[in-house]
Amino acid sequence: MDTQEFIDFMKFKFKHNVQRAFLRYRNRVLIDIEKDALLKVATFLYKELNFRFIIATGLDNVKAFEITYHFSNDKTGLLANIRVSIPKKKPEVESLTPLFVAADWIEREIHELLGINFLNHPNMRSLLSGDNWGAGEYPYRKPVSE
């Protein structure tokens, strides 16, 4: 499946859950999906298409939090970036750890650095700080200018 086929396929499969899909460069795809569809999309990519989960990037873009999940298809070199937007008022998103263990550490890390809660995560302890720094403050959040 080449990159354009993959985008069309995702649009067909998840219809209104896919908000926008960009083809970036030769084999990079950026897909904005709804927050609630995350588990469905991730299960499909991991279980059906056998994509490999690389990592997730958490970002505070001032208006909202966004998490980009990076999946790799090692047969074609396709890199699928699945982006969800999370409102600041209620920073919660479904955890992917029950689906694959590889998401465990990065979810704990994002929880610690950005303060996003992952629902159904089996073990939401802090990963990096222990009790030494950063209790209650999130270093990767952008300062609010108002």
Binding site: R24, Y25, N27, R28, L30, R52, F53, I54, I55, T57, L59, T68, H70, S72, D74, K75, T76, G77, L79, N81, F100, V101, A102, D104, W105, I106, E109, L127, L128, S129, G130, N132, P139, Y140
Partner: protein, 402 residues
């Protein structure tokens, strides 16, 4: 009487965000569970990079890990060139590939030495590190420093390889090849090493897929993943080489993969030097004026697996967000599978097999009694335990203490 023991292994481990304290829960001598705590080496590099210009970021990412100090700039350069849509000149591609492959050779030799040290073969340790020195000399000839090479920039490389250095590179590689062969034979034909490493720390194909592990760890378990081939970059599509895959998934298979990769790397460098020789010295970089708004992902195959950099830019001269994932971030998590059910002396080796940089086991490993919390064994003691076991095996095998 049964006594449950907690063995902390750690806490120092010198990769980016993953220096960790492993707690091995043991029942007698068998490891039953493992738990970890990280953050002893958290330096906030991703945050630091947000206040640096793109040119400066190269020097920071180079210092994420001293052993992979090419792979991180390589992945970052790939990401930035994707955003800026830059075509790198061929000559720069070959130079980049040479540096990356030299790094793979020195890193694999380093691992072989440390693995030898952990099972009590200090001769292997000394040999492997001795044969690693010429590679570091080569780095000094090409880049001016033994580690942290500062070769990369957006759009190319900082320095050219001098024409009179080609023969030096080939000569040193010719010297390394027979030594690596000798070392490989010594390790692969040794019956004691067979007994210590075969069937130890097995990771099945399914484990690798669950943990999304990469690099030699995955390739030793039959998962055929190598970013150099799957998502080609630099000069890898322009030269002939093959991906080494074995099926067993134990420590021995990982050693075999790393040894064979050394020879592949030597072959890649020789081909690149040949290509450089044919072309007259030319352009080694293109000028990149400004970086547009956008996001880009860069991947590179480090000695330990896939390095992944994701950069978000906004048109200014520093990144808005720079996410870095080192290969050990996913590989280290497989300890939960490879250590459980092993004896303590084998657990050290299973930890080392992933190549998480040696320091973790070398320095601050202590065994605590779970009731009295008193230290029973320290790091050296753990290694001694492992070394004693090799001695016993040798005695049983050869009938005398060799």
């Amino acid at each position: 009487m049964k006594q449950k023991t907690i063995i902390p292994v750690g806490p120092y481990h010198p990769l980016q965000e993953e220096p960790e304290l492993f707690k091995l829960f043991c029942d007698g001598e068998i490891v039953t569970d493992i738990e970890w705590e990280t953050g002893y080496n958290h330096r906030g590099i991703e945050k630091i990079n947000e206040s640096k210009t793109f040119e400066q970021v190269f020097f920071v990412v180079e210092r994420i890990c001293g052993i992979c100090s090419t792979s991180h700039p390589f992945a970052f350069a790939n990401a930035m060139e994707e955003i800026a849509q830059v075509k790198v000149p061929d000559r720069a591609k070959y130079i980049r590939t040479i540096i990356a492959e030299l790094e793979r050779i020195h890193s694999h030799l380093l691992w072989v030495g440390l693995a030898g040290h952990f099972i009590g073969y200090n001769t292997v340790f000394m040999w492997a590190w001795k044969y690693r020195e010429p590679i570091l000399d080569l780095f000094e000839i090409i880049t001016g420093n033994r580690n942290s090479y500062a070769m990369f920039k957006i759009g190319g490389v900082r320095r050219d390889i001098d024409e009179k250095d080609y023969s030096k590179i080939l000569k040193i590689l010719d010297g390394v090849k027979p030594k690596a062969e000798m070392l490989m034979k010594a390790v692969i034909d040794d019956p004691v090493i067979h007994m210590r490493t075969k069937g130890i720390g097995i990771l099945t194909k399914q484990d690798i897929l669950d943990y999304c592990a990469v690099g030699p760890t995955a390739r030793a378990s039959g998962v055929d993943v190598d970013i150099r081939r799957d998502d080609p970059y630099a000069a890898y599509p322009l030269v002939n080489w093959k991906v080494i895959v074995t099926q067993e998934g134990d420590v021995f298979a990982k050693a075999v993969v790393r040894f064979l990769e050394i020879f592949e790397s030597i072959s890649i460098i020789e081909q690149c030097v040949e290509k450089l020789r044919k072309d007259p010295p030319g352009q080694i970089d293109v000028k990149v004026k400004n970086i547009p708004e956008g996001n880009g992902a860069g991947r590179a195959e480090a000695p330990r697996g896939e390095v992944f950099h994701y950069v978000i830019t906004d048109g200014s001269n520093s990144p808005v967000r720079h996410k870095i994932r080192a290969p050990s971030y996913v590989n280290v998590a497989t300890f939960k599978k490879s250590c459980v059910g092993q004896t303590i002396s084998d657990a050290t080796l299973a930890l080392a097999a992933v190549d998480p940089c040696y320091c973790c086991t070398e320095r601050m490993a202590h065994v605590y009694d779970s009731r009295t919390r008193q230290r029973v064994l320290d790091g050296r003691g753990l290694i001694q335990l492992s070394q004693q076991r090799t001695q016993t095996l040798k005695k049983n095998l050869f009938g005398k203490n060799t």
